[in-house]
């Protein structure tokens, strides 16, 4: 709970820094603030309590995802320092990011549908603005516009769904909704099911799963790369965590009415995301499709709906977040030096930039799910959770999808190790090298010692 207050205060301080003119030191302040928020969140560990008239609960699920989100943001700040170079706009971006974090934290700790809605909106509105933060870039503007229009459209469905659920159950509180559904025979009421399904589609949109994924490739490609990285790591983690929190508690009772739908969504997302990624020659767009396919794997934890779901999802989002940040970092460095976002722009990276090339390989291998990296155990835990609940068919589709994934992920590695072409030394600075090193080590650590995270919840 305190972490929310700290973040809110931090956001205000950032805005004040513009007025009182201490924006030069804003970077360390933000850093310290987020670390303080992590510490505050950890203070709630095993110390579940409800706040704001039962609208938020800091149970271990909320704490572990909050810490993960804050930690990934911390890493993200290191990689995206280039975004904050412009003195004119830096305070705006900083505050937008911090406010979006508030939304993310609310999304993983809500116990009330209104809070879920608020969290999603706080996060989304910040992201609409950030997607268009390159004001003089047409693609960036287009991305913001698209994201906003489609997002606003989906918000309508989300609200409609919440209203329908409220209409039947008479409550916004997830515990009361669950209790109501279980105690009365209303679980098969068409209005309730329609409400649940509308909420489901809205959340599916947020994590960019098919067939509500169309915004993702265009927005991911158009938005500035650091923002894309933020969307594909932090935003996705918050969205899927809120998904599982809601459907694993309030709507777990009438699961037979939505699980088949989600099964199809997951399967289509995995297949479509992976197959479409194959064709891409643009690295950023390829990562966007890969991120769509990962949303498909993540949904499998919601479908599994057993005691392993939460821990496997936490592991997956952690592994995915770290590896995708590293991949976006490499993209950011290469594109800023050579001006191209094509995969062919990575050619011959290894000979002159061995550290970056190795980090890129580790990130890509982890995304592809190759042992002993984090991505392998992430997939393993999610798949085994799904198998435990009996979804063998879905796991088979997911494994086939992963195989297709290897095809396009390895193309990156082939390009990196191409020996005919020599890339110049890109002069990666120490900061970035350290970041890449940390990401690689974490990917290795989680892969060798998966127990560290999986036993957390």
């Amino acid at each position: 709970m305190n972490s929310l207050i700290i973040l809110a205060a931090l956001g205000l301080i950032i805005l004040f820094s513009e007025i009182f003119n201490f924006k030069k030191i804003i970077f360390p302040i933000v850093f310290a603030g987020i670390i303080a928020a992590i510490v505050a969140a950890l203070g709630d560990w095993n110390n579940s309590a409800s706040y704001f008239n039962n609208m938020i609960r800091t149970d271990n699920y909320a704490v572990s995802f909050s810490v993960l989100i804050l930690f990934i943001t911390l890493l993200w700040f290191v990689m995206s320092s280039s975004m904050f170079e412009d003195q004119e706009t830096r305070t705006d971006y900083f505050s937008l990011i911090v406010f979006s974090l508030i939304g993310a934290l609310v999304m993983v700790s809500f116990t009330n549908l209104i809070m879920l809605f608020l969290g999603i909106e706080i996060l989304s509105i910040s992201m609409y603005a950030l997607a268009g933060s390159k004001k003089d870039n047409l693609a960036s503007n287009e991305a913001a516009m698209k994201y906003f229009l489609l997002g606003a459209f989906t918000t309508g469905f989300l609200l409609f769904g919440i209203a329908l659920v409220y209409g039947i159950t008479g409550s916004f509180n997830t515990d009361q909704i669950s209790e109501y559904i279980m105690s009365t025979g209303h679980s098969s009421s068409p209005v309730l099911i329609a409400g649940i399904l509308l909420i489901l589609t809205a959340l599916t949109f947020k994590i960019a799963a098919a067939p509500f994924h169309f915004w993702a490739p265009d927005v991911y490609q158009g938005a500035p790369t650091p923002v894309t990285a933020f969307m594909s790591s932090v935003v996705k983690t918050a969205a899927i965590a809120s998904f599982l929190r809601l459907f694993g508690s309030a709507f777990a009772g009438p699961s037979e009415f939505w699980i088949a739908t989600l099964w199809v969504i997951s399967a289509i997302t995995i297949v479509l995301g992976n197959i479409l990624a194959v064709y891409q020659t643009n690295l950023k767009r390829m990562l966007a499709y890969s991120s769509i396919s990962h949303a498909g794997y993540m949904i499998m934890s919601v479908i599994a709906l057993n005691e392993k779901a939460a821990s496997s999802l936490l592991f997956y989002t952690a592994a995915y977040g770290i590896s995708s940040l590293a991949a976006f970092m490499v993209l950011l460095i290469v594109s800023s030096k050579s001006g191209t976002e094509e995969i062919s722009g990575l050619r011959g990276m290894f000979s002159k930039n061995p550290i970056m090339a190795s980090a890129a390989c580790i990130a890509v291998l982890s995304l592809a799910g190759i042992p002993p990296l984090a991505g392998f155990f992430a997939k393993y835990y999610i798949f085994s959770a799904a198998l435990q609940s009996g979804y063998t068919g879905l796991v088979l589709i997911a494994v086939a999808g992963s195989l297709v994934g290897v095809f396009y992920y390895f193309r990156i590695i082939i390009n990196i190790f191409e020996s005919n072409v020599q890339m110049n030394d890109l002069g990666v600075n120490v900061f970035n090298k350290a970041f890449l090193l940390i990401c690689s080590l974490l990917a290795l650590l989680f892969g060798i010692l998966p127990g560290l995270i999986i036993d957390a919840i």
């Binding site: 169309f214 939505w258 739908t261 010692l449 127990g451």
Partner: protein
């Protein structure tokens, strides 16, 4: 305590990382000193732990490593008498060899790389002996195998050395497969890999259960691979391609004894599988005799010592087969002292000879290398079993136990013991006595090694001379230090009460051997020194010696029976299965994938109107399906 225990393996690992990452920046011999100091620190900690140890078996869990619901494997270390002894040997002998290597490897291009590998080896070896479950032992097992591979092929610019490294790796893989299958069978039988739980549930089982026999045999395959027993021993002599300190540390003192450690650690399993124990004894005895005969006809100083190691490992397995686990560990300890000493002394000789390893080109080195000569003499006396040096006590104990259990194997093992004395004195006299037979340049180059190399030699010589007092037979002393120390590890000795040989037998064994040794010394001295009977050139050797010199043509046999057929199968599968079936299938999927991708790509039009249309359409479809159809 926890921290101390964890620091022991951690320090060499940190040393490895530090030296490995900064190898280009470290100047002079600093990498060597850093490497040596980390191992020294581990040794001091092990020593402290040894004195603080209360006598119980303690586990130190760092974290839950693998948790699969049905099987949980913690990452934890175990401190008991057995692991303590092994830790002391690994870090103690390891430290001496590290220091020696600073002198030996000085000026080599890969100086820092060498020490980073050595430190990594110490780390894995410590994990092997300190782990508290079979999986951690396997981690260490594979790790030391990797380091052994890297160090055998250390001078990777020479193709034959790489071939030797590959051979060691592949031979070990065969053994590792057995070990791995054994581990899997342990999981399916006991549902755990933890030593304590496996052994406590095994203790209540009746003898010779089929699955216990299977487990012990599979583990034995692993042990035979790592500890170079028949039929997997051929890699060890070839492994001499590595720098000599490596031969001393990995291929004599520590890694190759991992198989013996493994059997002793699982003594509960072996004790309820007497049938396996018999196989162990036969295998060990056969290896001891077989390798000793080959050593009789080798002319490379390191090859003789390598076959001697194989033979001595055979002795240890024979002891294990007789159920004398503590005796095996006793011999591991004394062997670590005198074999490390012999290898390092041989390294000193090679160093002085400018890389020459052929004993036919040596001779008379006594004058020029006085320290090396003295310590080599002590090592030779120790391994040959001259009382009261270290080898005497441990070998005598092995022979006595084998006599009690298997009388006919005793005869063969005694023969191997006689051969040991013969090939060692042959080596010793040819190297240090007589006239110098090398080139004039080599003669002028002859010099004693620097102090940094001779100091470890002297320490090891002292240990080789007095190490035997750790385990004196009953006729001399009623206290067998190692035996009584290790007793708690042998958790269920009641199942296998070792009957002790009579004192009369002990006396006759000692006296007969003493006389035999004296005869052998006189005979070899006359033959190689007085009569200057130098071994012939390779081409002119005839008869049995030729067979022995060519190591019974086992390498050729394996090449014919295994390597060539394996390559043939590989080629066949490559052309038939891979090229025509797998490649074709995969290659035909690729265009389908790309064209599907290209087609599907078109729905991503970029137009918001279309996106919203699809979204609305999907929502309607979802609602219709759930509300109307189902």
């Amino acid at each position: 305590m926890m921290l101390m225990v964890w620091l022991i393996p951690l320090l060499p690992l940190l040393g490895f990382l530090f030296i490995g990452l900064l190898q280009k920046k470290l100047e002079g011999t600093s990498a060597g000193w850093i490497g040596s100091l980390t191992v020294l620190a581990s040794f001091v900690l092990s020593l402290l732990l040894f004195f603080l140890h209360s006598g119980s078996s303690d586990e130190y869990t760092l974290f839950e490593w693998i948790n699969l619901g049905v099987l949980s494997i913690p990452f934890s270390l175990m401190i008991d008498q057995l692991s303590l002894i092994m830790m002391l040997i690994v870090t103690g002998v390891g430290f001496l060899i590290h220091v020696y290597s600073i002198g030996y490897m000085k000026g080599d291009d890969g100086f820092a790389r060498f020490f980073s590998y050595l430190n990594l080896f110490i780390f894995f070896m410590l994990i092997l002996v300190m782990g508290s479950n079979f999986l951690l032992m396997f981690v260490g097992w594979e790790g030391v195998g990797l380091c052994s591979y890297l160090l055998i092929g250390f001078w990777f610019k020479t193709p034959e050395y790489n071939a030797a490294a590959n051979k060691a790796f592949i031979m070990n893989r065969i053994g590792d497969l057995g070990f791995l299958l054994g581990i899997l069978l342990i999981i399916s039988t006991f549902g755990s890999l933890d030593y304590n739980s496996v052994f406590s549930s095994a203790a209540s089982m009746p003898d010779n259960q089929p699955q216990i026999i299977a487990i012990t045999l599979l583990l034995l395959i692993g042990a035979a691979g790592k500890s170079a027993q028949i039929p997997l021993y051929t890699w060890l002599p070839d492994a001499m391609a590595g720098p000599t300190p490596v031969s001393a540390l990995i291929h004599a003192a520590t890694m190759v004894t991992a198989g013996i450690y493994m059997v002793v650690r699982s003594n509960v399993l072996y004790s309820i599988a007497p049938d396996t124990l018999f196989i162990v004894a036969v295998l060990g005895t056969a290896t001891a005799v077989f390798a000793a005969t080959i050593a009789l006809a080798q002319n490379d100083i390191k090859k003789v010592l390598a076959y001697s190691t194989v033979s001595q490992l055979g002795f240890m397995f024979a002891a294990l087969g007789a159920g004398a686990y503590t005796t095996a560990i006793f011999h591991v300890t004394t062997h670590a002292f005198f074999k490390a000493l012999l290898f390092l002394a041989a390294g000193s000789v090679i160093h002085a000879m400018g890389g020459e390893q052929d004993i036919r080109k040596m001779g008379g080195l006594k004058k020029n290398l006085p320290v090396t000569f003295t310590v080599f003499a002590i090592g030779t006396l120790a391994i040959a079993g001259i009382p009261p040096l270290a080898g005497f006590f441990s070998k005598d104990e092995i022979l006595a136990h084998v006599w009690v259990e298997y009388k006919y194997l005793f005869v063969a093992l005694a023969l191997a013991s006689v051969f040991t004395a013969v090939y060692m004195f042959r080596l010793f006299f040819l190297t240090f006595y007589g006239d110098f037979r090398g080139s004039q340049r080599q003669k002028e180059h002859l010099h004693e090694s620097p102090g940094i190399m001779t100091t470890p030699l002297v320490i090891l010589a002292i240990l080789s001379a007095f190490g035997g007092f750790l385990g004196m037979p009953e006729i001399f002393s009623d206290k067998h230090i190692i035996g009584s120390f290790l007793q708690p590890v042998l958790a269920y000795p009641s199942q296998l009460i070792l009957s002790k040989p009579s004192h009369a037998f002990e006396w006759s064994l000692i006296s007969v051997f003493a006389i035999l040794l004296l005869i052998i010394i006189l005979y070899t001295y006359r033959k190689f020194v007085s009569n200057k009977n130098i071994p012939l050139e390779d081409g002119s050797v005839k008869g049995l010696s030729r067979v022995l010199m060519n190591k019974y043509y086992v390498d050729e046999l394996y090449d014919y029976l295994v390597v060539k057929p394996a390559f043939f199968i590989g080629r066949t599968f490559h052309s038939l299965v891979e090229k025509s079936i797998i490649d074709r299938t995969v290659n035909s999927i690729k265009p389908i994938l790309i064209s599907t991708s290209g087609m599907l790509r078109r729905i991503q039009t970029g137009g918001i109107g279309f996106y919203i249309f699809i979204m609305v359409f999907s929502i309607i479809a979802i609602l219709a399906y759930n509300l109307l159809i189902s």
